[in-house]
Symmetry: C2
Subunit: 211 residues, 2 copies
């Protein structure tokens, strides 16, 4: 099957549309227009129509989109029609905060495994999951059927652990460690870096000061 | 003074260039080429030269960029030549993880204040800063000379607190709460949403499965 060619910027907006559609569903709205979606997500209606057109012929001109049908389509495109199994590597303060966050399951993700290197933590409970040793990373990811791994590890130890995660066949990594990962081309990586976000905000402050 | 017109995508890459330059400085490299920078950050040399050209005529053809001079230029553009004062609102597990993260100061930020609504936490120590009540938000932000606020609050309470943060004159907000903020046009917001990042990764997994 030919790979769908959806622009990267559109892909990044799909989760935002989905969240907005789920809100409309909760508000018991059967139909939603591109103008309404645009207002909710802070873009323009033409952009919404163009983005959603990549998923197929979904809307009816002059009427709008069937909310239920569009949720099903966007969820399918995002591969979150069923819960995906994820693991956290690194159960420090950040890893612990993520494990305890209850919002992931609403968005399609179940944290089924947690790994750490500290003997004090291994075998203890992490919000309903028993912490496993990073020595068991390869076997543990396979046993738990994990598809996505979240790295919340110290920078210096991250790449070596990622190499093992990739070796275990994982194709999607969310990296919270402040280090750029080297992975094969067929592994998708998203980098969360709050220092970078703060610097971008600082840029706008610096520019604003010059006005 | 006319506002510098640097494209949004270039602004987002400046922090990455800065990190790479600081690495070169640590490695005692006096000069760096656009090819070397491109390799370190995972882009191409033409992109690096174009991005850096927005900051002025900085490189020497055939030689490269003076590392120290370029660090000074990029830092100035990002407004991180001196430490910027930031505050965290919400001292739950995520807020606690951020406060204890030691990497912010290396990147130009000092977390000087922490606010929370819980009487149990107010007045206690948060890694060297005494937690203040959100009731003191307005006065506290001014007293501490805060320029950037990080929201690590429950979704439902975030907008009301952001309204007060904006009312206190703050022009830059990093939002970790899973909610879209409404702010005036002159306030810069960066949204961190790991659920969205996971869904984007899931998209690539779903596509990969169809190949």
């Amino acid at each position: 099957m030919e790979r769908t060619q959806i622009p990267e910027t559109t892909i990044q907006r799909l989760p935002v549309y989905l969240r907005c559609l789920l809100q409309a569903q909760q508000d018991r709205k059967p139909v939603i227009s591109s103008v309404e979606i645009a207002e909710m997500v802070g873009t323009n209606a033409a952009q919404v129509r163009k983005d959603l057109s990549y998923l197929g012929e979904l809307g009816t001109r002059g009427i709008g989109y069937d909310v239920e049908a569009l949720i099903a389509h966007v969820s399918k495109s995002l591969g979150v029609s069923e819960l995906r199994r994820a693991a956290i590597v690194g159960y420090g303060r950040l890893g612990g905060a993520l494990k305890s966050y209850t919002g992931f399951s609403d968005r399609g993700f179940d944290i089924v495994a947690v790994f750490d290197a500290s003997p004090d933590k291994i075998g203890t409970d992490a919000d309903g999951v028993t912490i496993r040793s990073v020595d068991e990373l390869d076997a543990g990811l396979a046993e738990e059927g994990v598809e996505i791994v979240i790295m919340a590890t110290p920078a210096a130890e991250t790449q070596a652990l990622v190499d093992r995660v990739v070796g275990a066949g994982i194709k999607a990594i969310l990296n919270l460690a402040p280090v750029r990962l080297q992975v094969p081309d067929d592994v998708a990586v998203r980098q969360v870096c709050m220092s970078t976000d703060l610097q971008i905000l600082s840029f706008y402050l610096a520019q604003g000061g010059e006005r």
